[in-house]
Each structure stands twice: as C-alpha cells, then as structure tokens.
C-alpha cells in the first residue's frame, strides 16, 4: 500500500529535524524553568500539595490565568474545613490562626465578586461538602442599583486550567526570555525556590513573595516590606480608592442608590444556611478613614451607605445570625496604618476585628470553644506581632 520515501524526502526530513533539534532543546530548558517556577503547575497539584503538606507554600501565578475560582473552590473541597470565609479580596487577610487549633479553616476570599455568586455558592454547597460556619464579607457596592449581577463562580470552576494550554506555556517562555535580559531579577526570583526548602512556591507572583497561603489567605509581601520601613498610610491600589470614589470609577458609581431587591439574594442564601445548620457571621469589611468619610458625606454615596449599615444587620438577625460592621475603623480603635489601601485591612486589622466579634454575647452561642478569644489575644499581644502581621 505504501511506497518508500525517496532519498530527497529522507534528506529533507533529517535536515528539518536537525534544524529544529536545538530549538526543541531550548524549548525543553524553558519548559523545565517554567515548571520549576510553579507557574505552570496545574491547580489540582497545587491544591493537593497545599492540603497534604505540612510545609507552608504560596500560590501566585503571574503570567497565566490564576484560575482563581477553581483554585479556591477545590482547595475548600479538599480541606473540608469547619469554617469557610467567603467574600471579595477584602476578607483575604482573615487567617487560620484566629481559629487554630479549635476549628479547621479555609479562606476562600475573592470567590464572591457579586451577590449572584452567592446563588452559585449555594448550589455548590448544596451538592457537596457544607462547612459548620461561614464568614461572609459583604461589599457595599454589591448592593447598588447599578451593580451588575454577574456570576463567575460556576463558570470559573468548570473552565479548563490554563496550565494545560500551550499558549500559556508560550507566554511563560516569553516572560523567561525577558527575565534572561535581567539576570539579577531572574536569580532573585529563583533564589527562593532554590534555597528555601521550608516553603513551596507556585508561580512567579509567589516567588516574588505574594500569594495564597495553605489556609487560602493572601500575603502581600511587597506591601509588608514597605510597611516595615514606613508605617504612614498609603493607598496602594491603582487607581487609589479615594480617587475612584471622587471620580465615580471602577466599583464606585455615582448615584448608585441602595437596591432593596438585592437583599433578597442575600436573604435566600442566609435561609439556605439556616436550613442546613450552617452558622453565618456577616461582616462589612473595613475602609480607611478617608474612604469611609467620603462614603459618609458625599451626596453620591450616602444613599448607599446608610441602608447598607441599617438593613444588613436586620436581614442577618432574621435568621439569628450575627453581623458585624467594621466599616468605620475609628470606632474599633484602629487607624489607617492598619490598612493596605482604602478597602483592604491588614491581617492584624482583621484579627482585631475578630477579637471584638469574639467578645460579643451573641457569638458565645456560635462557637463551642470559649478559648478562641484568649488564644487570639495572645497572638495579638505577641511581641513579634505588629500592625500588619500577627505572629501566629
């Protein structure tokens, strides 16, 4: 059926092969470096490692898609924690140490980007593992009339991991080629992976010090280094939150009145939790003083802040759940140096907020162990702890 290749075809094939051989070799080296950096390690392996290993590790891809929803959701399923934190990035600083060693914990902060993600979460919890407690951070802008109800959670979980896409590999090679022109940076990045045997790094962002820890919380190593040198408040977001508020940009939109109908989505979720014996602690995460002031006094937002602070506790109390409003940090005895930017508090800020929460009478009925407060107080009081980091 088949005829033999002619000499010229064989010669051509060998010539092409010889040409591509060094190229394939170079690609192989780049592939090795890309995998070694952890950037291309598929989510399932990262989840497995972070769940099973006693070693601390950071997960933070920089070049390819973080597969954020997938990473957080599958980590939650793998850990099957007693306490699950959900909300936006504003709750990502809640640490395992607050509940350790009494309750297992996982912070899936960032998994909720709008109220409709709560619907997706409800379905996922319904069909899979249910935690005993949910700490739910609720952002003010989710309740605006102009806030879109876009859900990304379900789609994000189903999405194929970009680590399996050849274009992602190519993107990482491109980054590595750029790094080759800056050997100091290249060495500094890989230095962590080479020398630090007590940690695992998954991705270039993690190698630079920023990433998700085993408990799902996020470490801002570069911010922490800045704060170590200078404790003056700086809004590190781009553009700064206060500018967004004044310009009505990003998540802050002018004349965005409170939408009572959106409360029904929250109500439905709380009802689901109640029916499934999941205790919920609601939380309004902290703002910097300038941001809170702007929200409070600007005519553009006051129709949003007042009902947000008044109506949310009522919805929670309808189901016997506790809601804590940490919007105004001055009332909590904190100040702006506990803030990374206008909307993100440091882990110390969040730990201190939980200290107040644990002191509440209602919370006494929530947790079976009363040593939580004492334990947390010890960690906060530890001489190694400061305003941006707790020595757990």
């Amino acid at each position: 059926m088949f005829i033999k290749y002619t000499k010229s075809i064989k010669y051509f094939i060998s010539k092409v092969f010889k040409f591509f051989l060094p190229i394939i070799f170079v690609i192989f080296i780049f592939e090795f470096m890309a995998i070694y950096s952890g950037e291309l390690i598929p989510i399932e392996y990262v989840v497995k490692f972070q769940n099973n290993s006693s070693l601390d590790s950071y997960y933070g891809r920089k070049i390819i898609d973080q597969e954020f929803y997938k990473y957080k959701y599958f980590s939650f399923l793998a850990k099957k924690p007693d306490i699950l934190v959900v909300g936006s990035s504003r709750v990502m600083q809640i640490r395992e140490g607050i509940f350790d060693p009494y309750y297992s914990f996982y912070n899936a902060g960032g998994i909720i980007q709008s109220l409709s993600d709560l619907n997706d979460l409800e379905i996922l919890l319904e069909n899979n593992y249910k935690p005993k407690y949910i700490i739910l951070g609720l952002d003010i802008w989710w309740f605006g009339q102009k806030a879109e109800l876009e859900s990304g959670l379900n789609e994000g979980i189903i999405e194929k991991d970009s680590a399996y896409n050849w274009k992602s590999h190519l993107a990482v090679y491109k980054y590595l080629i750029k790094l080759l022109f800056n050997p100091n940076e290249l060495f500094a990045i890989f230095n962590n992976q080479l020398l630090d045997n007590s940690l695992g790094y998954y991705g270039f962002q993690a190698l630079e010090g920023n990433g998700f820890r085993n408990d799902g919380s996020f470490i801002y190593e570069n911010y922490n280094k800045e704060m170590e040198v200078n404790d003056a408040y700086v809004d590190r977001e781009t553009p700064p939150i206060i500018d967004r508020l004044k310009n009505g940009s990003k998540q802050f939109v002018f004349d965005n009145d409170f939408d009572k109908l959106k409360l029904s989505i929250l109500d439905k979720f709380l009802k689901f939790c109640k029916n499934n014996d999941i205790k919920v602690i609601g939380m309004a995460p902290p703002f910097s003083t300038e941001v809170y002031k702007e929200l409070n006094y600007s005519i553009n937002y006051k129709n949003l802040l007042i009902p947000y602070q008044e109506d949310l506790p009522k919805v929670f109390s309808n189901y016997g759940f506790y809601f804590f409003d940490a919007s105004d940090i001055t009332k909590l005895g904190l100040n702006d140096k506990y803030m990374y930017d206008g909307i993100h508090g440091t882990e110390t800020a969040l730990a201190k907020i939980f200290k107040i929460i644990f002191s509440s009478e209602i919370i006494e009925n929530y947790f079976e162990n009363n040593d939580l407060l004492k334990n947390l107080q010890e960690s906060i009081d530890n001489s190694m702890s400061n305003y941006y980091m707790i020595d757990w």
């Binding site: 088949f2 005829i3 002619t6 040409f19 090679y173």
Partner: protein, 473 residues
C-alpha cells in the same frame, strides 16, 4: 482549522508524512479526504456545497466540451454560472439584496414587509472555491482546456486544502493538470516552501494580528477617535489586511510546495506600486486576473470604440470585484473608487505606461509615485474597513481636519517600527517572488535569519487565533 493554529501544524505534519508514502492516485484521494477534514473542521454541513459545486462543474464541463453547437455550449455554461453564482448569491448576498430593496422601497414610501431576511451563515471561503470551479467551466467553454476524465482529480482540484478557503484562486489549466501528473519531491522547492511558510506566519502572527488590536479599537469607536488616531488606524489597516492576506497566501503556497504542488503568486509587493494599475497587477493577483479574463475582457476590455466604454468596463469590473468581497455597500463603493482611480490613465495618451510589468520593480526614484499611490489606496481602505459609506466619509473628514495630537496620545511607534522592518525587508527582496528567498546567502546567515524570525514570532506574536480576514469573503 486555521493555518496559525497548533491543530493545523499537527494536521499538516501527519499529511506530509502519509502523502509521500502514497502513489499519485492515492495521493489525490488522500488530498480529498484531508481537504474535507480541513474544511469540515469549521462546519461539516457546508461540505455538501463544495460537493455540489464539484459535481455540477464536472458534468457540465463535459457537456460543454461534448457539444459543438455554440448555443448549446452557452446554455450549459449559463447553467454552471447560475448554479454556482446561485449558491454564492443565496448564502452571501440574499440578505444584502433583501435589506437593500427594503431600504429603497421604504425611502419611496412603499412598505415591503413581506420581504424578510434569513438567518443564513456564510460558508467560509465560498467566494474562492466558487470562482475556482467556475473558471473550469469557462475555460472549457473558451476551449482553453479539455475536461478531465478523472472525478478524483477534479475533486482534488476544487477542494485542495491549502488554497480552499482563501485562495489563491487557481485556474484549472494551472492546478488541475498537476493532479494528473506524478508529483516529485524536490528538496530546494520544499525548503523554499518552508521559508515562505515562515514569512507568512511572521506577517500574520506578528504584524497583522498586532495591528488588528489597534485598528479594531479605533474603528470600533470612530466618533470618539481623533483624526490622528484614525489616520494611524487606517495606515495600520492597510498593513494588517496586506500581511493577513498575503501571509495566508504565503502559507498556502509554502504548504503546497511541500506537497509538490505549485500555486500561483498572489501578491507582488503591492505597496511598492507606482500607480493604481500596477497596484492591481500586484494585489490579489489571482482574483484580479480572474476578473480581467472573465469580466473585463468579455465586456470588450480596452479594445472598445471610445474611452467612455473603456471606463464603463473598468467600473463594472471593479464594482463586481468590490461586491465579491462582501455583501455591503462599502465594498461596492471601494470597488467603484478604484475604478475611478483609472480615469487619468484611460483619458491619458500615456496610459500604456501605467501597466508596469512585475519584472520591472520600483527603484528609489519612484518613491514619490509609490507614496502617492499608497495614499489613494489608503483612502480606499477607509471605505473597505468602515461600517458604512457615511462612516467612511466621516473618517476621511476627520483625518483631513482634525490634526490635534493629545500629549498622552499613543502614536504606536513600536508598531510603525515593525512596519518599517517589513518594508525594508520587502524592498531588498522585491525582485524575488518569495520574500524569504535567501538561498543566495550562506548557511550561517540563513540560519540566523530563520532563528531571528522564530524568536520574533514567539516574542512579539499574538497567539489568539485571529481568523484570516479574507475567510469572510
């Protein structure tokens, strides 16, 4: 399946290794199978259209040849034209004509609600293979060729995958005959084909797809864009469409060469043309010659009683060429505009000088002429890219009136640098049909050039699988 996709790379490597293990007859059958897989990758349902077109022209070609009566021959040719153009017209132009009629009647105050548009998908490359099969019937009618007896050879001719969806539109006399012959693998041609593929990929992935991002952005918001932004976007579009389409042609020609098939040249450095007539001898050559041979010359060409008739023939040819590109008045206007560009040549006594041969490449003294020709081509591209003729005029108006440059305006100098690189390479290679014909250089220089191009593709390329622009035509 896109040429710039990993699927195609794997597909073609497999095709290459199996193809050269087969004898001629089996090679033809194998090409048909591969071509149908290649086309069916988009939408297998439209394979029936290719098959219908193949059967119709195969049998009507025979009928045309077998009859001596001019009248009968003409009937069979008309039948072939009606069926092919009928299919093309239905899928490509039905909605356009219905909505155009509706607009005309509405403007006259007559309601034509009974006329409704259909939800029809445009089959990829339908204009290309329709014109290719039509050329077969027409050439038999013109007694330039005799019909093939082999249905498989004819099927391979119609569906040959490297040029199926975006050309070059081959004549039966050039391509069909190659399927009837034994194919011989010639190493220097294969290597030349590889070079052409590499250059085609560079043009598509690095230049066209990079420029597309800016063009789409600016043309997507014409009202907000400044005159300078629109001018930059239009220049970028000129190079986007050139690199996109000529890049496709290069890859098609290169892959065919690896299979021992020679395809015709489709682009010959069109932006170095010294006048519009030369531009059309260098741009989309296979389509230009198709319209020349089957529309312009049968209308009488330039051998007519007066210059007005000559102009009429030119305008008709260009308007139809515009319509071929798409069912939109912008394409028709673009064709009409290019027809008008011929007026000075038609009414000039020196008109014959306008028709430069491709063997007569431009030199440095010609740069002013090249620049002026490019400006006229650029104006045409505005209408080609615009959503409507009205929008085209708005863009032209802004370009010529709004010269303000915002301090923060991105002038995309890096993109211009890529274009300059392209033009410099093309200028030095303008005597060669394959831009990357570097066989005269020594091995080390050649290897360095290949490696540099591969690195540039990896570093600067956009791997977002942007379909080739001409697929929609």
């Amino acid at each position: 399946m896109l040429f710039n996709s990993i699927e195609f790379v794997i597909f073609f490597i497999l095709v290459f290794f199996i193809y050269w293990k087969l004898n001629r007859k089996k090679q033809n059958i194998f090409i048909i199978i591969c071509s149908y897989i290649f086309y069916g990758w988009w939408d297998w349902r439209f394979l029936t259209l290719i098959f219908i077109s193949t059967i119709v022209d195969f049998f009507l070609g025979k009928k045309i040849y077998q009859n001596d009566s001019v009248k009968v021959r003409r009937i069979y040719l008309t039948l072939s034209v009606l069926i092919n153009i009928g299919i093309l017209g239905f899928f490509k132009y039905f909605n356009f004509f219905v909505s155009s009629f509706q607009e005309i009647f509405y403007s006259l105050g007559v309601s034509v609600d009974s006329l409704t548009t259909l939800n029809v998908i445009l089959p990829v490359g339908i204009s290309f293979y329709t014109f290719q099969t039509l050329s077969y019937s027409i050439e038999i009618y013109q007694k330039k060729i005799s019909p093939t007896k082999s249905f498989t050879e004819f099927m391979a001719f119609v569906s040959f995958f490297p040029q199926l969806v975006a050309g070059p539109i081959e004549r039966a006399s050039a391509l069909l005959s190659q399927f009837a012959k034994e194919r011989i693998f010639e190493i220097h041609k294969a290597i030349d084909g590889c070079r052409q593929i590499l250059w085609g990929l560079f043009k598509k992935i690095v230049i066209a797809d990079t420029l597309a991002l800016i063009v789409n952005n600016v043309y997507g918001g014409v009202n907000e864009a400044s005159g300078v932004q629109l001018l930059i976007a239009t220049i970028f579009f000129a190079f986007q469409i050139y690199c996109d389409f000529s890049g496709y042609s290069d890859i098609a020609i290169g892959t065919s060469r690896l299979l021992g098939i020679k395809l015709s040249r489709n682009f010959a450095y069109p932006y170095f043309s010294r006048n519009i007539a030369e531009f059309w001898r260098r741009w989309h050559i296979s389509l230009s010659t198709w319209f020349r041979d089957y529309i312009f010359i049968p209308l009488g060409g330039n051998h007519v009683s007066n210059n007005y008739k000559y102009l009429f023939n030119i305008l008709i040819t260009f308007i139809l060429s515009g319509l071929w590109h798409g069912a939109n008045w912008t394409f028709i206007f673009w064709g009409f505009l290019h027809g008008l560009y011929y007026v000075p040549y038609i009414f000039s006594t020196k008109s014959k000088k306008a028709y430069k041969s491709l063997d007569e490449p431009a030199n440095l003294k010609n740069i002013p002429k090249i620049f002026v020709t490019f400006l006229f081509v650029l104006i045409g591209w505005v209408f080609f890219r615009a959503d409507s003729i009205g929008q085209g005029f708005i863009i032209i108006g802004k370009i010529f009136s709004d010269f303000s440059i915002n301090a923060t305006e991105n002038l995309h100098l890096d993109k211009f640098l890529i274009i300059v690189f392209l033009l410099v390479v093309e200028w030095f290679q303008r005597k060669y049909s394959n831009t990357l014909d570097i066989s005269r250089f020594n091995l080390i220089v050649r290897r360095i050039i290949y490696i540099v191009l591969i690195i540039l593709i990896i570093l600067l390329g956009k791997f977002n699988y942007t379909p080739f622009i001409y697929f929609q035509f």
